[in-house]
């Protein structure tokens, strides 16, 4: 995942960072500012909402557990009101479930809390360029849901019916640690198109809430986090 297409200057990219843990907040803010991004930080859901209305950021980077609410609500609101904003969740290790939950309400990327500063900046840049990140474990989580099982595996409900066989093949490749080049050559496609497919997969997993029931279901999945 080397940075490739990079057209927009970093200072033109505004980021809203929502993280209630001060050390993590500082660390992420430093990493992004050093990379030249325009960063505004919020510690609570209320601050984040205010800032979201005011600044209309290009990128929303949010934690899920906030003192006055849940990051999922913020993602939903942002997705509804600011369709152009890229949404990333701040994830800790081993919680693919929360990343997947965020994806189902509209997030298209994630950052690990303990990632190296350079990686944090690179990931944001890639996302703005249209390349969503994906880890082997997230890919594995999604493909597992595509396999019909008698008993649904634990975790948030995930509708994978819209995924094409080719997209599932890509996910399998990523889950098994194949590189984008290997996946592309195996599936007879261009290496450059693979990252685009990831974003498309995320979009397909998004639940367009027409009723509260679906949201409730997502919430149910989240309550277990």
């Amino acid at each position: 995942m080397t940075s490739s297409a990079e057209d927009i200057p970093a200072h033109d990219i505004s980021i809203l960072l929502v993280e209630d843990d001060p050390p993590t907040n500082w660390r992420l803010k430093d990493a992004l500012e050093q990379a030249g991004f325009d960063v505004a930080a919020a510690m609570t859901l209320a601050e984040a909402r205010a800032s979201l209305d005011r600044r209309k950021p290009r990128v929303l980077l949010t934690d899920l557990q906030l003192p006055d609410g849940h990051g999922i609500e913020l993602i939903r609101e942002s997705r509804a009101r600011l369709p152009d904003t890229e949404i990333m969740v701040i994830s800790i290790l081993g919680d693919e479930e929360s990343v997947i939950s965020a994806i189902t309400v509209g997030a298209t990327g994630y950052i690990l809390k303990d990632a190296f500063p350079t990686d944090i900046a690179a990931t944001v840049r890639e996302l703005v360029a249209g390349h969503s990140p994906i880890s082997a474990s997230i890919a594995r989580f999604i493909v597992r849901r595509t396999q019909s099982a008698a008993e649904p595996p634990p975790g948030p409900p995930l509708n994978t019916t819209k995924l094409t066989p080719r997209e599932i093949d890509i996910l399998w490749g990523i889950a098994k640690g194949f590189s984008y080049a290997e996946i592309a050559s195996h599936l007879g496609m261009s290496k450059q198109t693979v990252p685009g497919h990831i974003k498309s997969i995320y979009r397909k997993l998004e639940v367009h809430t027409r009723g509260e029931a679906v949201f409730e279901a997502v919430q149910q999945g989240l309550i277990k986090l």
């Binding site: 290790l93 990686d119 082997a136 889950a175 098994k176 640690g177 590189s179």
Partner: protein, 639 residues
């Protein structure tokens, strides 16, 4: 009779009172039956109109001549050459009718020749059933028209009577055939046809019982009854020819088998109702066997005498004993077979008593024996009783089957419950094992690293040192969490996640990761356990960490491939760096640390049945991990 069946009553409780009332009921029932039978026996058999009766005969018996009125007796005699001759006249007029005329003899013992106008028109000795004195066979003979003369005709009846039975000639009738024949047919039905039908029934019973006994040899009762029925059937259908029997002894013996037959029936009843064989019960067969022996080796006269003097009383005694056994059983058990058999025996006893009293001239003697006919009642009772028993046994079998089904279901439920419990236990044990492993993994990896973080911070170590240690702790935590994930035996899925981590680990050190997979990667191992995965990933981590810390490498290459040998495919993972390598035997610090790491890697590989070779030189280090064909099942891999 059955009335003598007195219970051996103990106390005066309600039980014995109940028993007494049952006894009274039973005795009353038998008395009613006996009364009805006596009433029926006293009812005279129908006779043709008296105008066709020829009653007065001139009898010439052993040279002496006298006038007799039928019915008449003549003493028995030893030979066939000297019959008693009855002579009478009857009147026939041609004008009266054009019908055929017949001579009808309702009853006689033992044989008759009928002669009309000096011509023999009938000889009963040619009719086997007529030769049996116990069967009340009637005879009718049509007088050929050419023999009849207008006016007075002569009728002569030669009566043959062989010892020990005295001769008897009942009232006889001469008249139109169409008047006499219905009476003849009626008697034939009662005394010939019906007994034959019942004998056929007896034959079928014999066959059924023989089969029953053959299949269930321990049921001697059925064997005995089979013997009785077979004897009865055989003696009925065996032809009795007076003049030239082919096997006279056998013939005579079979005819005289009734005492043995009665013994068998009694034996059956004892076994069937009492269910045990009293010590002296075998004596019941003695008279029967004696009669048979006499029949086989003695003269016909001796046989007849033995039969009369020993056989018939034996039959009587057997019947009385039978009544006692059956009555006792009915009182004890009150089941249908004993009740039916009890009533039948009562009827038979009354009939036999009637016949004996008649022979003894105590009752008016018309030589009509009912014993044989009443024996049919016993046969019917036996058949019905056996069927009842059989149907009951079937019901019991059904009940038993239903009971079994219920028991089986209960056992099944118990088994299922215990199986579920066992499964639950197994699951709990697996869970406990997994928890133990997890705790050990956390303690060994994360615990150690956190301790070293504490130590570093207490020593006032630089922040970067503490950061490295914390990072290592995080990495280990992630490894433990990852190992919990179900990867369905596909090590590639675990390596995929590990790749992400290695890439993140190498990036800050400006070391490139060259990740090569020879498709399709590694074989799937259904037996792969989290403990195996954690050992392999830690081993690979060790290899990469060595490359980062000690080798000064620019590129780390990970190569994943499936190899194949005689026992099948196996995986091979190689971690290679282009660093300066290390000398395993050198005393240098890096060498020693690397040496310890090396031993660590060997141990980890051994725990999951893999082998690990390390080759190090100036051009870099290569760690080659060869996976087993099958991962070991045991928990030895954990730790």
């Amino acid at each position: 009779m059955t009335e003598k069946a007195k219970p051996a009553s103990g106390g005066q409780g309600p039980r014995s009172r109940k028993f007494a009332s049952r006894l009274v009921q039973y005795v009353l029932l038998q008395a009613v039956i006996a009364a009805l039978v006596i009433l029926a026996l006293r009812h005279p058999l129908p006779e043709p109109p008296a105008r066709y009766l020829v009653a007065t005969f001139a009898l010439s018996d052993r040279g002496a001549a006298r006038e007799v009125t039928l019915p008449a007796f003549v003493p028995s005699r030893s030979g066939m050459n000297d019959p008693a001759v009855f002579t009478a006249n009857f009147t026939w007029t041609r004008g009266e009718t054009e019908q055929a005329w017949s001579v009808y003899l309702p009853r006689f013992t033992n044989g008759v020749e009928v002669i009309v106008n000096s011509t023999v028109i009938m000889d009963s000795r040619r009719d086997p059933s007529a030769n049996r004195p116990d069967r009340d066979t009637p005879e009718i003979a049509v007088i050929p028209a050419s023999l009849l003369r207008e006016g007075t005709n002569e009728l002569v009846v030669r009566l043959y009577a062989w010892e020990p039975i005295s001769g008897f000639l009942d009232r006889l009738f001469v008249g139109p055939d169409d008047v006499l024949r219905p009476y003849f047919e009626q008697r034939t039905l009662w005394f010939v046809t019906l007994p034959t039908v019942f004998s056929a029934w007896q034959g079928i019973l014999a066959l059924i019982l023989i089969v029953l006994w053959a299949v269930r040899r321990h049921e001697v009762a059925y064997g005995m009854l089979a013997g009785a029925m077979a004897l009865g059937a055989a003696q009925t259908f065996l032809v009795t020819v007076v003049d030239q029997p082919r096997h006279p002894e056998l013939n005579a013996t079979l005819i005289a088998s009734a005492p043995l037959e009665s013994g068998f029936i009694l034996g059956f009843a004892i076994l069937f109702f009492a269910r045990r064989w009293p010590r002296y019960a075998t004596l019941i067969f003695v008279p029967g066997v004696l009669v048979v022996l006499v029949g086989l080796f003695g003269t016909p006269l001796a046989l007849r005498t033995t039969f009369m003097l020993l056989g018939i009383p034996a039959i009587g005694v057997n019947l009385l004993l039978l009544a006692l056994v059956v009555g006792w059983s009915e009182l004890r058990r009150q089941d249908v077979p004993s009740l039916m058999l009890g009533c039948a025996v009562t009827i038979l006893i009354i009939c036999l008593a009637h016949d004996l009293l008649m022979v003894a001239q105590i009752l008016p003697d018309r030589r009509i024996f009912f014993s044989r006919l009443s024996y049919s009642v016993l046969l019917v009772a036996i058949g019905a009783g056996l069927t009842w028993r059989f149907a009951n046994a079937l019901n019991r079998v059904d009940g038993f089957a239903a009971h079994l089904v219920i028991q089986l279901r209960e056992a099944e439920e118990k088994l299922r419950a215990s199986f579920a419990r066992e499964q639950e236990q197994a699951r709990a044990m697996a869970l406990a094992r997994e928890r133990t492993r997890l705790m050990r993994d956390l303690h060994d990896g994360l615990g150690g690293q956190l301790v070293s973080i504490v130590a570093l911070s207490e020593r006032g170590e630089s922040a970067s040192g503490i950061g490295d240690a914390a990072r290592a702790a995080l990495k280990d935590l992630r490894l433990v969490i990852d190992s919990m994930d179900d990867i369905g035996g596909d090590l590639m899925l675990a390596l995929g996640t590990w790749r992400d981590r290695v890439a993140a680990q190498l990036r800050p050190h400006q070391i490139a990761l060259d990740w090569q997979i020879a498709p399709p990667g590694l074989p799937v191992h259904p037996e792969l356990r989290p403990s195996h995965v954690i050992q392999i990933v830690r081993l690979l981590d060790e290899a990469v960490t060595n490359a980062v810390k000690h080798a000064g490498a620019k590129t780390v290459t990970v190569h994943i491939a499936t190899l194949r040998d005689a026992s099948g495919p196996y995986g091979c993972i190689t971690v290679e760096d282009d660093g300066q390598g290390f000398a395993t035997a050198s005393d240098g610090g890096s060498g020693r640390t690397a040496g310890r790491g090396l031993r660590n890697m060997q141990t980890r590989a051994a725990r999951c049945g893999a082998t690990c070779e390390v080759v190090s030189g100036g051009a870099g280090t290569r760690v080659r991990l060869t996976l087993p064909h099958r991962f070991p099942e045991s928990d030895a891999a954990s730790g």
